[in-house]
Amino acid sequence: MAVREAGPVGSLQEVKEAGLDREDLLGIYRNMLISRGIEERGHILYKQGKIAGSFYTGRGNEGAAVGVATAMGPNDVGTPLHRDMGVHITRGVEPWRIFAQYMGREGGPTRGRDGNVHMAVPELGLHPMVSHLPAMLPVATGMALAFKIRGDRRVALGWFGEGAAARGDAHESMNLAGVRQLPIVYVCDNNQWSYSTPTYLSYPVEHVADRAAAYGFEGVVVDGTDVLAVYREARRAIEKAREGGGATLLECLTLRMEGHAVHDDAFYVPKEMFEQWAAQDPIERYRTWLFMHAGMSDDEESEITSAVKRLLNESLERAEESPLPDPASLEGSVFASPEDLDTPHHK
């Protein structure tokens, strides 16, 4: 079973066949703009000294993140990572909560207990990442195992990077998913740089997705800057999993357009590489497609961009109104009590 290299999405007809109407298409654009907008504001907040600790962005990965999340069903779950702002936004996390998270406020999904993009809103089917990548892959695999045990028509999505693909967690997870035909999609955000380490020092084959063959399921490589192609491939993989067809490894190829984190100027990435990938910026690329194939008008676009701007302004204000955690609450939430089990995802 060789890896399949997925082609681009062309016509509106093709997109409609993949299950998206025009409103969905504009929604995808909006979600990509919000994702990038949050991170651009984050840079400003960081420079203003309003963000403690470090700051990570997913610039260049908006298409891959939004594309996959758009393909998820309402009851599907996942463990998105630090380049996947678009997943949180697409699942409906309110941007003010993300700003509050950045600033260590009570209103953030972790209530100031964890920082930056170590966050998720479980009620929306997302569970927060840890720094030890890809340690959430076994967890996502366990979610898929639960669905398989219960016979739920639900799918889990586990994100990982091409760097973390070198760790044993990835192998143990995919091996188990292959053995047990679990309803899971492993999404590799291949942004070609694991901090400063290039792909050829991380893995010795052409694609990370080549490994899927070793686990007995399909590997697909898709251009992660083509949001619609990502959507099409993610949907195919998710629905296959839902129908009992087992796992897929979906590799979304992008370039990390900024450093590993805000402190890193990415001097080690060749300038030409940045130029080449900047020319296929996922948002710009999709915007052009919307004008050409979906008849987006200038008015429609400016309506979307100004609504996004307004949303971000309001979100930032609301986040700054959110209180900082009270030190008196410091030791309060190490252990769960029985009533904590009474949440939607535990029923």
């Binding site: 972790t110 964890d114 840890v130 076994p138 195992l145 045990i149 091996n175 252990f335 769960a336 904590d340």
Partner: protein, 324 residues
């Protein structure tokens, strides 16, 4: 009541939990067709089917991580490590993910990891360890170390019910050696309450797991000399019954802390430090500690016997305490 071995009590607890709660399932290496390396789940797959008694690949990370994911989706996984020693392979999943997920994401992780632990039968460095203190140091994990069939059954039921990750250390050397009266119905033994395994008022031995029995044999020896020793079985280390330990120290004024795990950084150090901080003025003798020496568990029988605290070691220490 029925007389059961320690291992039968564990099987019984698991079976009762699986019968009463369809969310409870067992996952581990060789737990299904084979019934587990120690036969704890013998016959379970026939009763509950292959999707509730899941034979896993040799993947401790996937077992503990998988349990965590399944728990987040509302199930109540009981994961078996074939030997407690192998939990090191899943350290990250327990320590990085499971222990901290509620603190960060406010999502409880109700998993139980069963850990056949302890030495005494030449298991060597990788099949004999007692790694409880490593995990007791990790906030967010609960640590259970039963010493009797009664407690093994009740604590396992409580562990499965608990909304947190629980490490259940079942001592292999007790599996078939220790028998006791066990109620046939389901019951729970709450965490954080020590039990008096043997009463006494001249000194108290604070211990857990297999050492409860070693301490009791030693205490019986000392009783012949007119020195009555209380054996206090902590039963759970996180949470541990600090109040009861301090009460024992105040009443007896002499204390020995005993464990099979190695000495430095062992949980006994925490107990001894707490006694020094909070009951110093009640002590008539220095807090004594007996533990295994700071080294890997040796294989050869005479070496292993010298490594694991023996009844005569405890007797000698208690005589010293008596004379002090």
């Amino acid at each position: 009541m029925a007389e059961m071995t320690y291992i039968q009590a564990i099987s019984d607890a698991l079976r009762l939990e699986m019968r009463r709660d369809p969310r409870v399932f067992l996952m581990g290496e060789d737990v299904g067709v084979y019934g587990g390396a120690f036969k704890v789940s013998l016959g379970f797959q026939e009763e509950f089917g292959p999707w509730r008694v899941i034979d896993m690949p040799l993947s401790e990370t996937a077992i503990v991580g998988g349990a965590t994911g399944a728990a987040l989706m509302g199930l109540r996984p009981v994961a078996e490590m074939q030997f407690a020693d192998f939990i090191s392979c899943a350290w990250d999943q327990l320590v990085t993910v499971a222990a901290k997920q509620f603190f960060r994401g406010h999502t409880p992780v109700p998993i139980v990891v069963r850990l056949p632990s302890g030495g005494g039968f030449s298991g060597g460095p990788f099949h004999s360890q007692n790694p409880e203190s490593s995990f007791a140091h990790i906030p967010g994990l609960k640590i259970v170390c039963p010493a009797t069939p009664h407690d093994a059954k009740g604590l396992l039921a409580a562990a499965i019910e608990d909304p947190n990750p629980v490490l259940f250390f079942e001592h292999k050397h007790l599996y078939r050696r220790i028998k006791g009266e066990v109620p046939e119905d389901r019951y729970t033994v709450p965490f954080g309450y020590a039990s008096v395994h043997r009463p006494g008022e001249d000194a108290v031995v604070v211990t857990w797991g297999a050492m409860v029995h070693t301490a009791t044999e030693a205490a019986d020896e000392l009783a012949k000399e007119g020195f009555e020793v209380e054996v206090l079985d902590l039963r759970t280390l996180i949470p541990w019954d600090k109040e009861r330990v301090l009460e024992g120290v105040q009443r007896c004024s002499k204390v020995l802390v005993l464990h099979e795990d190695t000495r430095t950084g062992g949980f006994g150090a925490e107990i001894a430090a707490t006694i020094a901080e909070e009951a110093f003025e009640h002590l008539d003798a220095p807090v004594m500690r007996i533990a295994a020496p700071d080294m890997p568990v040796p294989f050869s029988p005479p070496l292993e016997k010298a490594f694991i605290p023996q009844v005569e070691d405890v007797v000698a220490a208690l005589r010293e305490l008596a004379a002090y």
